[in-house]
Each structure stands twice: as C-alpha cells, then as structure tokens.
C-alpha cells in the first residue's frame, strides 16, 4: 500500500508523522519504504542519517525501474528510505520537461509490492509536481494538521486537490484520515479546532498527537519516538493512529 502524508500548510508535523508511522510499521514487521519528497531533507535529519540525493538519482539519473531503486538502509530493521536534499529543486526543473510527469512516481514504484508492504511519501508543503505525483501514485492520503485555523484551511485545500486529481487523472487515492497534531488540552483553541474538524470530517479524524517536547528531543538526537525512553505522550497518539491505520487497511 502506498500512503502519502500531505498538507499544503507547513509546520504541521508531516515529516514527524510520516517518520513515526513508517518506523511503527517497520517495528510491526512490515517492510516499509519511506520516500522524502521534500528538498529540506527533514527525513534524513529525523532518522539521524547523512543527507543524500537518492530521490534525484532514482527519478532522473538511474532508469525509473524499481529494481534500480537507490533506497538507503536506515540501520532499522524493515525500514528503508529514499532521501532528498537540495537536488530536489533541479529535479522539479528536470521533470517540467517530461511528458505525463504527474505519473513519474507511480511508474517508478511499479512492482514495489514484491519488496515492500508499505511505501510512505513525506510531501513538502505547498503544491508542486511531486505533490501531485504523490497523490496520483498513492492508494491513500493521510493529512496531519496542527490544531489551528490556517492548518485547518490546509486540510480543505488538500481535500480539494485530491478531488481534482481523482477527476483529472487515473488516481485511486482515497482519503484515509486526518491526524490532529500539537494537541494541547489546556488551550481552548485546540478544543475548538478539534471540534471543528470532528464536525466537518467525523470518522476521518484520527486520535490526536499531543504537544510533546520529546518530539523536539527526538529530532535533535536523530531518533524516532519509538526509540525514545519512557512513554512520550506523542508516541501514544502515533500508536493509536497506527492501530487505526492497520484496522482500515
């Protein structure tokens, strides 16, 4: 199954969610490939890996065949990653001259099922060709959203993008869930935004991820939440989301 994590708004914990859900799947024995489509290279940082231009090499330098994939072993069982860094900018330029470029990821991932149970895309904020290509290639969309007004608007926008892409292309991508992040139980705003999401999207709203300093510590240490000691509040939320995802899948 191919799952894309998207929200047009930045800073909503897309990369954190993608990394922790992917590593959670890997720890449960699912062979998982995490693909960083964001030129900021956050995935490498979050996993404590050196930066790399795997995405550029996979899509442009090497033939777009999955058996030539340049996935990077993360040192974590069942988890591989295709890293991204500043070469993602030239990649988008290179793709602008390619016919049917919105199909580029779907074509590159042909036959992935023979190797991987799950492929997870971490998308950059905003709308670009890789964002569209991810929605075309994916089977499911998960939207992490911070519990604030602008991020909630980002949810509406990405839902609209998905509807447009399904209409204009042969994408089979289905809306899977919305992960409310940075939930702070002592602020009214978190409650109001969560209620708003629930009224609008009902069962699509997944368990919340509480605001948690451990997330910041984990990114500094290059570890996932599953590798942090104790019982971080945010990890409990991701564990619930993971259980929900596996039930739906």
């Amino acid at each position: 199954m191919i799952i894309t994590f998207e929200n047009q708004k930045g800073g909503v914990a897309k990369s954190t969610s993608a990394v922790n859900m992917a590593h959670g799947l890997a720890l449960r024995g699912f062979n998982t490939l995490l693909i960083d489509l964001d030129g900021q290279g956050s995935i490498s940082n979050l996993l404590g890996l050196p930066a790399g231009d795997d995405l550029y090499r996979w899509l442009i330098v090497q033939p777009r065949q999955f058996d030539c994939v340049v996935q990077y072993a993360t040192g974590r069982p069942n988890l591989s990653v295709i890293r991204s860094h500043q070469m993602t900018g030239p990649l988008k330029v290179a793709l602008s001259g390619v016919d049917f470029r919105e199909q580029v990821l779907a074509k590159a991932l042909r036959g992935y099922e023979e190797i991987y149970d799950y492929v997870i895309f971490d998308c950059p904020p905003g709308v670009d060709i890789l964002h569209t290509a991810a929605l075309v290639a994916a089977d499911a969309l998960i939207i992490p959203t911070k519990l604030d007004q602008l991020s909630s608007i980002g949810v509406q926008e990405i839902m609209f993008s998905l509807a447009t892409i399904i209409e204009k292309t042969n994408s089979n991508c289905q809306m899977m869930g919305i992960i409310p992040t940075f939930y702070d139980e002592v602020t009214n705003e978190s409650q109001i935004q969560l209620e708003g999401l629930l009224n609008e999207y009902q069962g699509l709203v997944w368990p919340v991820i509480r605001v948690d300093t451990v997330c910041r510590e984990a990114s500094r240490l290059g570890k996932t939440l599953w590798e942090m000691p104790g019982q971080p509040k945010a990890r409990l939320g991701y564990a619930e989301c993971l259980a929900k995802m596996l039930r739906i899948d």
């Binding site: 409310p180 939930y183 139980e185 009214n188 409650q191 969560l194 209620e195 629930l198 009902q202 069962g203 699509l204 709203v205 997944w206 368990p207 919340v208 619930e240 929900k244 039930r247 739906i248």
Partner: protein, 116 residues
C-alpha cells in the same frame, strides 16, 4: 469500520472521549467555588474507590440477605460483605467439603455447593 447511517465513518471513540473530558473540565472551571468543592469531593470519592470494587455472581437470596443485614445494622451492604469475608478468611474454612467435580467445564475443575 463502524459507519453512520449515511455511510460515513463513525467518529473515533478516543477523540470523542477527549472532547467530553475537555468539556467536563471547562464546566468544572466555570462553577462557583462552593459547587466546585462539592464536585471535587465527589470526584475524589470516586477516585478513592478505584481498585476497591469487585463483581461476583451470587445467588439473589444472598444479595437480599446482605441488604437486609445492612439495613438492620444501619450500614452499607459492602461493609457487611467485607466483615463476612474477613470472618471467612480468619477461620480458614475448609472448602473441600463443598467441592463438586465438574465434568465438562473447560476452565474450572470444581463447583462449590453450599450445604446446610
């Protein structure tokens, strides 16, 4: 996945519980001080009961008998049952005389049958 009548997925119970808890907290904070103290006392009582409750299948006559004694003694049925169980434990009752072998129970070996 559980769905509503219109086919949309039902709201996640953990999200609903979180919102309910938050509403309770807000309602509590908006109470006058006296009311707040009452609610807090009630809540503390409920918290103190955690781990002190057990459910057992008993004959209705036994339940009624405990209620009757509690009424007569002006106390609660829980207190009466508590004393009865302490007496039982203190006397180290030999249960073997009440044991009846169960034939087809996959879980338990014996049934205890009361003999007058």
């Amino acid at each position: 996945m559980a769905t509503n009548e219109n086919g949309t997925p039902k709201a996640d119970p953990s999200v609903m519980a979180l919102l309910a808890k938050s509403k309770d907290r807000k309602a509590f904070q908006s109470l006058p001080t006296v009311e707040r103290a009452k609610v807090k006392k009630k809540r503390d009582r409920q918290t103190a009961r955690i781990g002190k409750r057990g459910a057992y299948d008993l004959e209705p006559e036994l339940i009624e008998a405990m209620k009757k004694i509690a009424e007569d003694e002006g106390t609660t049925a829980s207190q009466v049952v508590g004393i009865a169980l302490h007496m039982f434990l203190a006397k180290r009752v030999d249960l073997s005389i009440y044991k009846v072998k169960l034939e087809r129970n996959p879980r338990y070996e014996y049934e205890l049958v009361w003999k007058e």
